[in-house]
């Protein structure tokens, strides 16, 4: 096999080997796959950066310096997704004549490095919202979680219903409950953005908006191995340029912009004349001129914003404003509700504090997918811009399972730190606040006790009230804020028992072990 084809197909196979398990993990609504699959995500750069995994960062930098942006064509699920979109777009188009005709374009250096600088500066000052919105991995996560997964679930339901008719319950009916409006809008916008950019301009996202692409570009510019023209072999047919998704090859001038090359090897595989090859070609040996033109800033474009740039800014603006519109529709009904809505969001056990969580979470929604209780929900703007899309414990109709640590086990950024079972059942993410004047037992004078029934620590327990009635009472030192009580409280519109978040998580003592008393009876008692 020719070097080109070999390289390209190795890249394709490796990419599939990463992409498929990651995608399956993100659509795995019934927890079939092992949580350890999340280790595949350790290679993701933004999560590693926010999680402070220096080793991974060094590894990625060395990889980029040696071989170029391998990350973008093998490891990045958003990159592979764009390649798939490209592939789908090619269906039905003539193969031989270069199914996609990309043309060399000058790099949008102002945009990519400007955006990277803004992202970094904001991040340094503690606002990670922009990196969260631009991170390719997290965008892929949101697309898979909020668009692909529901489709898979509906497919499952169709088959489950068929199976059910035959008394086979190996598949079961599931309800899509964790897709919030804001998450749907964010995922849809991101997918639309990918599709439009890919259809018109190939890997434009990776070379303009993507902070990982821009950072790696700064390194790959100097990479040792790179696509290099062989001026003797090249007949300037232009096939390589047409095949370059990154629009980085200028066939006429025989230059390759290594800062934008995503090492897909389509060019070397398309060349029939050995006109270019992937080989060791350190920058100090190559044409200095080439490198310099890449860096030069396209000032004319700056002065006269063209259609393309307008398009980009508009799309980004739409992406940013859509969640605002949806959040405005949420109207607050009562005073109590207003007060409760001012309480901070409840962050998952293991996140340690609200501030730490906001700094580290990239809203990839993997925890939302994997939470067996479906209690983690992506948040809108109700807690401000800096909590946008990040998951919170929403005790709408479910609660955080007592001994479960799945979200912490799968979190790729360490935003939710791994917990032992013992640590989990003593981590207090919030405290149950009981409002007696709303309670059924008080207002209707009937038995209820649903809250206490669901309390795993009996922090919420029933105490004598009027007559034979009993009413809930909260021992705050035992409460871990799991939301069992809130999720089941039948009072509406405002529930009589609501968890108030701890912005700094606390630790409570384990419920005291009672002595086991042997009970002996010899009679039936009736």
């Amino acid at each position: 096999m020719k070097q080109g084809a070999l390289l390209k197909w190795s890249r394709v196979i490796l990419a599939i080997l990463f992409f498929l398990p990651i995608t399956f993990f993100f659509v795995d609504f019934s927890d079939v796959l092992p949580d350890s699959l999340s280790r595949l995500l350790d290679f993701q750069i933004i999560p590693a950066l926010l999680g402070g995994f220096i080793g991974i960062l060094v590894l990625q930098a060395v990889l980029a310096f040696l071989f170029g942006r391998i990350y973008c064509s093998v490891l990045c699920p958003a990159g592979i997704l764009q390649d798939i979109i490209n592939r789908l777009f090619c269906i039905g188009k003539k193969k031989k004549k270069g199914s996609r005709r990309f043309l060399f374009r000058k790099p949008s250096n102002v945009l990519r490095y400007g955006l990277l600088a803004v992202t970094v500066i904001l991040g340094v000052f503690g606002f990670t919202g922009l990196v969260m919105l631009l991170d390719p991995y997290s965008n892929f996560g949101r697309i898979a979680t909020n668009l692909f997964r529901p489709v898979v679930m509906w497919g499952n339901n169709l088959i489950a219903d068929l199976f059910m008719k035959m008394d086979n319950y190996s598949l079961y009916h599931v309800t899509v409950s964790t897709v919030t409006t804001v998450a749907l809008v964010a995922a849809f916008t991101a997918l639309l953005l990918f599709v439009i950019m890919v259809v018109f301009r190939g890997r434009l996202f990776c070379n303009t908006l993507c902070p990982v692409g821009s950072s790696l570009g700064l390194i790959s510019r100097y990479s040792l191995f790179r696509i290099t023209f062989d001026k003797a072999g090249c007949v300037q047919c232009g096939k390589c340029e047409y095949s370059c998704k990154a629009e980085a090859i200028d066939a006429k001038n025989m230059t390759v912009d290594a800062s934008r090359c995503v090492t897909c090897f389509n060019c070397v595989s398309s060349c029939s004349k050995n006109g270019l090859a992937y080989k060791l070609n350190p920058i100090f040996k190559s044409n200095k001129q080439e490198a310099l033109t890449d860096l030069s800033i396209d000032t004319s474009a700056l002065k006269k914003p063209n259609g393309r740039r307008n398009f980009l800014t508009t799309t980004v603006a739409i992406a940013g404003s859509a969640p605002i519109v949806s959040a405005l529709a949420d109207n607050v009904s009562t005073e109590k509700e207003k007060e409760i809505k001012k309480w901070p969001p409840i962050t998952p056990p293991g996140s340690l504090s609200l501030e730490r969580f906001k700094d580290k979470c990239t809203a990839c929604h993997l925890c939302v997918v994997q939470c067996p209780s479906h209690v983690l929900r992506p948040t809108g703007l109700e807690y401000g811009l800096d909590y946008l899309l990040r998951p919170r414990l929403a005790y709408i109709d479910s609660y955080c399972n007592y001994e479960c640590t799945v979200c912490a086990d799968v979190c790729p950024t360490d935003a939710i730190k791994p917990l032992t079972k013992e640590e989990k059942i003593t981590t207090q993410v919030g405290i149950a606040k009981f409002m007696i004047d709303l309670c059924i037992v008080h207002t209707e004078k009937t038995d209820c006790g649903a809250c206490s029934e669901h309390c795993p620590t009996q922090a919420v327990h029933m105490v004598p009230y009027e007559g034979t009635l009993t009413i809930p009472n909260v021992t705050e030192d035992l409460c871990i804020g799991c939301g069992g009580c809130e999720s089941i409280c039948p009072v509406r519109p405002v529930r009589a028992i609501v968890i108030k978040a701890n912005t700094e998580h606390l630790f409570v003592d384990l419920p005291e072990e009672e002595e086991v008393k042997e009970v002996q009876i010899d009679d039936f008692g009736f």
């Binding site: 008394d167 079961y172 327990h461 089941i488």
Partner: protein
Amino acid sequence: MKRRDFLKTSAIAGAALSLNFDNLHAALSSNTIAVEKAPDMVAVMGGEPEVMLDKALEALGGISKYIKKGQKVVIKPNIGWDRTPELAGNTNPALVKALVKRCLDAGASKVTVFDHTCDNWQKCYDSSGIAAAVKEAGGIIMPGNDEKYYKPVDLPLGKNLKSTAIHEALIEADAWINVPVLKNHGGAKLTCAMKNYMGIVWDRRFFHQNDLQQCIADVCTWNKKPVLNIVDAYRIMHQNGPQGKSAADIATLKSLIISPNIVAIDTAALGLFNQVKKLEMEAVGHIGKGEEFKLGTTSLDKLTIKRIKI
């Protein structure tokens, strides 16, 4: 007596006799006509769940009195919580397993088991040991996690609860057996046979909003009654129910009660419970309300109860 009446009466008598071959056989072999009346309730103490079940069924006259050949049968245990069998949050899996087998032996065309759980349904089904037990016995364990599985039914006799959605397995069933575990309950005070009905409906919030005790009695008026109620009191939860915190909440009574009379069996179960923890009948409001609906009697002295100690 007119000839026609005579014929009618003898036909009925003949049919009645033919229903109970055991007694007829016994009468013929022993040459006496003293036929022992089947008890209204059987209580067994001191054995393993499957042994007590067999003793109780035998005393009642055999399971074939209740489960007929070819019937679609549903067994409704309590599988509400993510708890292991030792913590008695759910019905004993050994009892469920034995019962599934007995129903299949009696010729049931299929035996389905489900519960609308409180904790995550898969965790409950697994931790309780019931999913595995049912599969081993050859029954079908069916999910109850989604509203889709529930179909609306009217409860014309209900006072607060006039209609509700009930699991389709029960709606399609020819016969069902109610198999609760005896526990203390923070809201209803006691959970046993009547309270176990809350696991057959989808919307439990309505119950809590509209007088829990009344709604429990209301749902029990559904016209498809269980052919038997079997109370698992092998281990009971006497405090911190219905979920329980630890082994300290559990008492091992190694008991089982069986009766078609749901009010009576809950009354009896309360009697058993009272030997461990004091609980007033008035506090468990749904039992009295069930009697008002004529779903059964709380006057156990009016019933024939067979008590067996192993």
